[in-house]
Symmetry: C3
Subunit: 674 residues, 3 copies
């Protein structure tokens, strides 16, 4: 979509459910006063409000919402307006049971929870269409309304007969003939051939649960179905006469949907971030969150919105630890450093009952503004006003790491050398962390993303090579790129069908090696990578490796930088290098320890010409940059847990934070260079 979403400021505010307080006008009034005090400029309303908006079929009750929007507007506060489809009224379910979801065991759910609706049901779509259209007609051009928030945290799947039929249609369109499907899915195994598309059923623990290609396509279909519903929601809004931009709030590393497919159906990406700060060292949590921020930003390679975050502690984690003083500020600014144009909270006022009543909020059950949380929220609001000019600026990345959801789905379901745990996410983080530790912005990309413009691309555990992906990688390297490929790559095509003739498929000559066998290691096993004398990177330390060890056979012109230290494959390559065109390809044969990657990416980064924003960055300090029109904004945040020295060159001026070389724990600064 091409609607530009720029507000010229940071959005500060969050989710608000005034419908829970209609019997307490005093509270509604107090809240607006509190919002202004806390520098809140944006309020999201309408999430889960269907039963209040339409208490009986066709009886729309919008007055209360109109009043809230007016009141907010009158106080200079913008509105993000949600469609209410995340939950539905009881009358709808009683009259039209088809709107409820059917699980993989083919049981239709009862009323309850949220996200409990069939994405295909014509009834549900029609009810949604009427509601969204009416909302758009009434509020869609109100000057307070700046963004549509479509439903809430889309997720889950439905196995009802209507969805089954859509799945078959989707497969027919994808494969054309049943013979082609049989061939791609390898159904000859265990007599699973289909003689027509009508015979196909979604995967089920009660039925077929090991035909990997069926399961993979089902997951793709679920994403397609969700997006189809999202598009229908948007169309209803347009039909209602509103042309405001739309977003949908995505979730942390959510494996139920392939978010890269949302690129073209949202005007701006937004997401909900609920890290468990203080569970481990803050810098570890920061790396983990940073990767997710980067993933979300990379979907459109544009700023995104932090749609939800917790001003205090959540209520659904095993243990809900309070955010320590300063944590809210640091976490909020961390999102901004990685490309967010907002800091929004769930929630502005705590609900009095039901499942999230103890979820942290700007205003809690006590109800005063004399709380620690309220004070810290207010400080965040003030900070965002102070750095207002940063809003809308870009994050430019010199490096990228591949993290592809389809690859993730396929690999984890494939029954291979290590079913216990492949440690895929850990492997992604091992590439990402040492690059970020150098202050280098990193994109987290899928196989569909272009590789142009990156100086270095890491492709870890790319088990699945989609059609043409080997060519894309080769072109990138041939043109001068530095490519880091690892073990368990190029094994299957995009229907999880093994490539014949050797792997990594299509890359044997380019990478200068062929994988012959792969060893699965028990959790208590390890091997070592031993550097070879004179390797061109000057690696000199030995590192442990675990979990998976690829046994490769190299070409004559391939450099072996490291070798295995033990077991029957002692002496076989553990790290190789092969020049290719103007570029180069490294191949990491085993699941190396983190320290290896630290040294490796320092040396390969230098070789590839990555430019660091600061010479020295102490461990645990997070550094990131945003830029616009020649201006560079440098974010430095101390997540190390101790006081550290981070001197900044004279060309920078301070935009936020205290001056001086020393930074205390959780301290953040924003510097600017023109």
């Amino acid at each position: 979509m091409d609607r530009q979403v720029e507000y010229g400021r940071f959005l500060h505010g969050g989710d608000y459910n005034p419908e829970q307080w209609l019997h307490r006008p005093d509270i509604l009034k107090t809240d607006i006063g509190y919002f202004k005090k806390a520098h809140i400029n944006t309020v999201s309303v309408g999430m889960f409000s269907w039963a209040v908006l339409e208490p009986e079929e066709g009886n729309y009750q919008f007055e209360w919402l109109a009043q809230i929007i007016e009141d907010l507007y009158a106080n200079g506060i913008s509105v993000i307006l949600a469609t209410p489809t995340g939950a539905r009224p009881k009358w709808m379910v009683d009259k039209y049971p088809e709107v409820l979801r059917v699980n993989e065991n083919r049981e239709r759910n009862l009323f309850g929870g949220r996200h409990n609706h069939c994405y295909t049901s014509p009834v549900y779509r029609e009810k949604m269409r009427q509601m969204n259209k009416a909302l758009a007609g009434r509020f869609g051009n109100h000057p307070a309304v700046i963004l549509w928030h479509i439903s809430n945290e889309y997720g889950g799947e439905c196995h009802c007969p209507l969805c089954q039929e859509k799945f078959r249609e989707w497969l027919r369109e994808k494969y054309g003939t049943i013979e082609e499907l049989n061939a791609r899915w390898c159904t000859t195994f265990w007599s699973h051939q289909y003689s027509s598309f009508e015979q196909i059923e979604s995967p089920s623990p009660r039925g077929e649960n090991e035909l990997h290609a069926l399961k993979l396509d089902w997951k793709r279909f679920v994403t397609a179905r969700t997006i189809d519903f999202l598009q229908a929601e948007t169309a209803a809004i347009r039909e209602g006469g509103s042309d405001k931009p739309v977003t949908a709030n995505l979730m942390y590393d959510y494996a139920g949907l392939d978010y890269k497919k949302f690129k073209d159906v949202l005007d701006i990406v937004s997401w909900d971030n609920y890290p468990t700060w203080h569970k481990e060292e803050e810098w570890k949590t920061a790396v983990d969150c940073g990767l997710q921020h980067d993933l979300m930003r990379s979907i459109q390679k544009k700023p995104f919105l932090l749609m939800e975050s917790c001003p205090s502690s959540t209520n659904w984690q095993a243990v809900s630890k309070l955010k320590r003083p300063g944590m809210l500020m640091a976490a909020s600014l961390h999102a901004v450093a990685h490309g967010s144009d907002s800091v929004l909270y769930f929630q502005l006022r705590q609900s009095q009952g039901a499942s999230e009543k103890f979820h942290g909020a700007v205003i809690d059950h006590y109800g005063g503004d004399d709380t620690r949380v309220f004070r810290e929220v207010t400080e965040v609001g003030a900070m965002l006003e102070q750095i207002r000019e940063v809003a809308g600026s870009a994050v430019k990345a010199q490096a990228a790491v591949l993290y592809d959801r389809e690859n993730d789905w396929a690999m984890k379901d494939s029954q291979g050398p290590r079913n216990e745990d492949l440690h895929y996410m850990e492997c992604i983080q091992k590439q990402y962390k040492p690059l970020r530790a150098q202050g280098i912005n990193v994109d987290i990309i899928s196989m569909e993303h272009t590789l142009e413009g990156y100086k270095l691309v890491a492709v870890p555990m790319a088990y699945m090579f989609k059609e043409g992906y080997a060519e894309k990688l080769k072109t990138y390297a041939k043109n001068g790129g530095t490519l880091v490929l690892t073990y368990w790559s190029g094994i299957v095509d995009d229907t999880d069908r093994c490539y014949l003739g050797g792997t990594p498929h299509g890359m044997i000559e380019a990478a200068g090696l062929r994988s012959t066998e792969i060893d699965g290691l028990y959790d208590w096993d390890e091997n070592h990578a031993v550097p070879r004398q004179g390797n061109h990177l000057g690696l000199s330390k030995m590192y442990s490796c675990r979990n998976l060890c690829d046994l490769v056979k190299v070409q004559d012109d391939t450099e072996v930088l490291m070798q295995y230290g033990e077991d029957f494959y002692q002496g076989m390559p553990a790290l190789t290098y092969h020049a290719y065109g103007k570029g180069q390809i490294y191949y990491v044969c085993a699941d190396m320890e983190e320290d290896f990657y630290q040294e490796f990416y320092e040396k390969v980064g230098a070789e590839a010409g990555l430019e660091k924003p600061l010479e020295q960055i102490p461990k645990g300090v997070s550094v990131a940059t945003r830029e616009r029109d020649g201006a560079v904004y440098l974010f430095i945040q101390n997540f190390s847990g101790k006081t550290v020295e981070v001197p900044v060159q004279g060309t920078y001026t301070l935009l936020y934070g205290e001056d001086g070389a020393q930074m205390k724990p959780l301290e953040s600064r924003v510097w600017k260079k023109n």
Copy 2:
């Protein structure tokens, strides 16, 4: 109910299933001889006998039972007669499937197990009515029969359409209007409003499972339904012409029912106790059992019956350890010390097959009376005769600890600061143990119980304050009582709806503080409570605290006795004191370690004027008293695992046990003072 249940002796005997041995009259005859030898004076029959009592619909076969009752009576043995409703014959299920239960997933059970019947089914109720009436008509006035044993270990729930309808009726009666229910349940959250009672369904993992108030009311309804059934059972007995007292056997810390509601529907409380002696130190198990005995006694504040206990080892625990020599005697006397008027066993003779065939029994498969178990049972029988005068005497408690099932239900289901484990029971035990360690009798009470007469009341983790409970606590303190309140108290009302305006609700001024935030600690975290110089209790040690730390703001006239030692809330109060009226309120802010409570209750107990029966009680020795007409019976039992000195003052005379100051492990003594 007001039938006085006093037998003028201790009941000794237990469950017996002669219907399993009708083909072996020799065995039935031998058994009676064995009973007499073992001082068995009471035998329970009829549990689970329905299929033998009514092998075909309407065909009652009572002769075998009549014969047994006659034989027992002729030998001077009393009978507890059970109604057989705990299991039902196969013909009934085949003809009337509605009698079977429906689980929360809305699946009707198949025949099998026990406790597998719908409490609402008109058919089941009618079959029960006919059976109970017939049994009462035939045996209900027999001189041998001294008590009705209604069904067996009531438990479980049914989600069938008939029960759903009853649930709706129950709600309609409770709330009057659907608007009131919506308000109390906070259904606006996630569009869960109901427009009529007809729309309500019981909780289900397939449907609504996070609307806490619905789940809480469902649990209450299950108790109400069970009691309704129990009352119908009793009514049928009365209809049959029997006016003998009734009991129902309750279970160890059973969370499926709210036992306090059984107070008025039983003539005497009875329960089944199966501790895992020898799994940890005996004194720990004794504390655990003692608390349950006290809980059962406190329901009616009257002596109770130990209806089942194991003469040997069970067969359903993970590991069934044999009771060591002397354990049976000590455990039996321990029940008596806490208020039991009986020692009854499951079972008198081991069944030959099916699921409990290896459960310990007075007479085992071998069948002789020359076994260790038979010998020890005989010794218990002799002991009970020796202390016969104690039967019927009262247990008077100076202190009470709140342990309320509704509070337990609400708190554990509420999704708050620690979903992993709130350690509620441990917190109860931390109050109970140091009081019992001083030889002080303790009542375990609910919010409904009066607080009058107690010198000290501990109210730990009283998350839910039912309507009026804050007032009850304040009145108690105002009139001179010593109240110990803890963190996570007064948070919600009785529909789990959060109190607004600050917590502990209604107690802020009385306790002299307000809770501002609560921190959840991981299992590996801890903080410390550090005593303040000059605190009026003279506390001088530092103690660790874990799991939950309440951050409170105190009034000027509140004494802070201890403060947190670490983290950002270092220096904030950890223990406070506030004078209130003629009394006083302590507030324990965090989940303190056991040793804290030991010191705390010694000092607060003294301050509150608690009177100890003995000056010095070695650790691990259990001391309790019963009294009647000026006589005091002092029970001293050595669960410490070693020989200890427990001198008793001259005013006491020995009723049971050996004289002298030294007590060997597992040794027990009963002293009497007039």
Copy 3:
């Protein structure tokens, strides 16, 4: 069955699915060349091929199979032909849903997986009959075909109405009257009496799940039903005109079926062996596999076939470790040493997709013959040709260990002194290992097996004594045998009904003792067995015992060799001996540690006259013998993980392996003595 299955050579080859490669004739051609190169002489085809053999109802497509068989035959390769019933085509399921299985919750499966058919369904049986008959008609007399492979790894159960009806028939036939069934099942417990066979339902978690006798008979019925289906498969083959022998491939320690019942319905036993080599020390894995080989061989006391094994690593274990160089050879020869007449693999060529695509194969996705695996397979083939004369020779055992599936079922389901873990298999292994460590062949037998011919029989944890078993044991001992009996033996009859009058039932006088109680120990508990001065075996060390301690009362003429060292049963017997007739009975009272058994069986083995093939066998070295017509083949395999000395006497000549006393890790040798 009496068809002699002897091929005069070892079969080498395995499972092959050419139907997956019909579109690649080049691959099919290459494969045959590879087979010949690798000394492959036998190929199994047809497993799971139904959808290709009958793509539409009644439309048989056998040409492709005919072509493969011709091609193999033309190249001197034999064929094992499978019936395709392990999976079924989708059209069959769509048209006849009854062919799908119903699970214990009474839900009918959807299409998918394998082994997903009802064994009773008349439709499935008819479809099978037509298919098997047609296959037999077409290929059943082809000279290439040497064996029928019936279905694949039979397993699982069906609870459909048709199976329920068969279960009732089976019970009626077994018990005659419902009164007899009620008596044997002890249904009086919990009112579970049946008034007719029609009332009986299979066990279910939704219904009856604790009536042990019902569950035990259901398990027996599942075996009976499976065998009935197997016989129907064989009958169809015979009907089709083929008289070739049949086998069915059994599984590792599979508890779902009672394999001893397959004795008379197979011409030769075959099984699939997938050990996790390299997970623990190799010698431990070797003991574990050896026991299973011996179990399979003991079913018919004849050579068996290793039907499946993995040439590389599997893909379904938690971690699939590569077989280290030499492991394949050692494992293959280990099977032969224990009585196998084949080394067959799953699979010859890796499938390109679906659930087993990463399962190891002789030819992998790469497709070349220049792989480590292919080379090692070829070496195995060559070795088998070198020792060809061993094929068909017998394994003669001097000792036997009882391991009865019915006993296993009953004991584990019985709810007794230790529900957590009875450590039955460990107890079996504790008897087996020290005997095998002396190089003594051991049979693993059931209660049905004769005891004649054994010098020593170990009967560990024989909880169930089937009708007449006590007599069988007594006769064995009376006639001069050495019997080792342990705790928890002779407790119940074959419907899990407890024996009255003392245990071990029927053996009290013969063993010279009676069990009085049995103590369950927690995992952290232990006791000790202390030798008594002058015990006739000369035992002098103390050993620990855990888990279960039997407290026995001995007769005057019983020797107590060891006594408990602690607890209240200190001084009671821990090991006893009683002379009986010409023989003797040892009774091991507790779950002793492994080292006890090591010393015990060395001394008792010598006393019983067991003859060892070698004087000294280093720990971790596996020694076994096969013999025929006076020739003895001695297998020595070094699983110890280090180089050891194993000198062999001059009368032996080397048939395979290197000469010399020293053996390297994983080295194997075959010696021959005439």
